[in-house]
Amino acid sequence: MSFLDKNSTVARPGYSKWLIPPAALAVHLSIGQVYAFSVFKTSLVDHFDSSQTAIAWIFSIAIVMLGLSAAVLGTWVERVGPRKAMVAAALCWGSGFMIGSLGIAMESLPILYLGYGVIGGIGLGIGYISPVSTLIKWFPDRPGLATGMAIMGFGGGALIASPASNKLMSIFDSGFNADDKSAVANGTALSSTFLTLGIIYLVFMLIGAALVRVPPGHAEGEESVQHPGKNGALVRASQAIRTPQFAFLWVVLFCNVTAGIGILEQAAPMIQDFFRAGGDSSVSSAEAAGFVGILSLANMAGRFVWSSLSDVIGRKPTYMIYLGVGLVLYVLLATVGQQSTAIFVTLAVVIISYYGGGFATVPAYLKDLFGTLEVGAIHGRLLTAWAAAGVVGPLVVNGFLDAAGEPGSLVADDYHLGLFTMAGVLGVGFVANLLIKPVDEKHFDEEAVRSGSQDEAPAGEAAMSRGGN
C-alpha cells in the first residue's frame, strides 16, 4: 500500500497547489454532514420507538469522538501524511454509515451508536484535521484563506446533506414527504439512505485522498522545509500544549464556540420567543426554519470571509473583532433584538459568522504561534475546546431557559440572562486573546530551527498583529 505512504504523496515539480483545496473540500464537505443529522431525528425516534434524548446521543457521541480522535490521533496524522489519514477518515466515516445502516435494519440502537457515533466520529476527527496542515504548507503566505476554504466545507456539508438526505428518503419511501414536518420515513428507507450516503461519502473522500499531495521537501526522513511562526517559532505538539499561548488560545476557541452554540442550538425557538406577545409568536415555525437556513449560510460564509481577512489584518485583531464586537452584538441582541425581526436576524447573522470564522482562523493562528512543524497535531489537541464547548454552551443556555419557564411560553426577557452570560464568556475570551504573545524561544524545537526555514521571521508582538508573512 505504498500509494498511501507519505513519500508517495510528495508533489512532483509542476503539481498545481490549486488541487489541494478541492481535495480538502472533498473531505470536509463529506464530514460536514454531521450538522445535518437532525433530518433523521424524527424518523429515527419513530423507528426505534425511543426518546428524543436516546437519538440525540448519536450526534453527541460523534462530536465527542471528533474531539477525542483529533486530539489523540493528531500526531499520527502529521506523521503518516494527509493521504493515509484521509483514507482512514473515509473508511471510518463511510463504514460508520454502513454499520449504522445495519443497526437501523436490525433495530439495534447500540449498533447505530457504535457505527455512526463511535466509528463515524473517529472519521470526523481524522478527516477534520487531515488536510489542515497540508493546506498551510502549500499556502504559507495565505494560511487563513487556505484553511478557510476547507473549513468552510465543513459548514457547507450540512447544506448539501440536508436536502440530499430528504430526497433519498423520499425515493426509498414513497410515502415520505419532507415538506410535511410530521412525516417519518420507514426503517427500510432510513437504512437504505444511510447505506447510500456511506458509499457516496466513501468514494467522494477517496477522490480527495487521491488528489492530495504534500509540497516538495516533505518526504519522510527528509529535512522538511518548515515555515516558522512569526518570531521564528517551530514547536512540536508535545511542547506546544505546555505553553501559555496554547492555554489562552484554547480559552479563546472555547469562549467563541460556547457563545455561538448558545444561539445556534436554540435558533428556531429563540426567534419565535423573541417575537411572542400574548402567548402567540408573530414568527411561524416555517419562518423560524428559514432563519436557521440563513444562519447556516452565515456560518459557512464567515468561515471563508473572516479567515481570509485575517491574512490581511492579522490573527489577533481578527479575534478581537470576533470576541469584542461579538460581545457588543450579544448585548444589543438582548436589549434591542426584539424591536424588529430585521434587527434580530442581522445581529444573529453577524454573530454566527464570527462563530464560523473562529473555527476557520484558528489553524492559521496556530501556524503564526508555533510554525508548521506539527501544526496539524497541535490543532487536533486544540479541538478539545470544541468538544467541551459543545457540552457547556447548550447546558448554560438551556439551564437559564428551563428556569424561566416552559418551552412555547418564553419571551425575549427570558433570554436576557443567558445572552448577558454569553457576552461575559466572550469578554473572558477577549482578555485571553489579548494575553497571547509570541512563544518563548525555550519551547522551540532546536533541531527544526537549525535546519533552517524559507520564511523571513520578524520578531515580536508587532509582527504577529500585522498578519501575513
Partner: protein, 50 residues
C-alpha cells in the same frame, strides 16, 4: 532506448505542469454539490421568510 534517454523522458513527464482541465474538474466535483446545497438553502430560507 538507453537508460539515460528513458530517465530524461520520465523527468520531463514528472515536471509537466498539472493540466488546467484536471484543476477545473476537481473544483467542479466539489463545486457542483456545494452549489446545489447553497441553492437549496437559499430557496428554502427566502421562500419561508419571503
Amino acid at each position: 532506448m538507453s537508460t539515460d534517454a528513458k530517465h530524461s523522458t520520465e523527468t520531463d513527464a514528472d515536471t509537466r505542469p498539472t493540466s488546467a482541465l484536471l484543476v477545473v474538474l476537481a473544483w467542479l466535483i466539489v463545486g457542483i454539490p456545494l452549489a446545489y446545497g447553497l441553492w437549496q438553502t437559499v430557496v428554502t430560507a427566502f421562500q419561508l421568510l419571503g
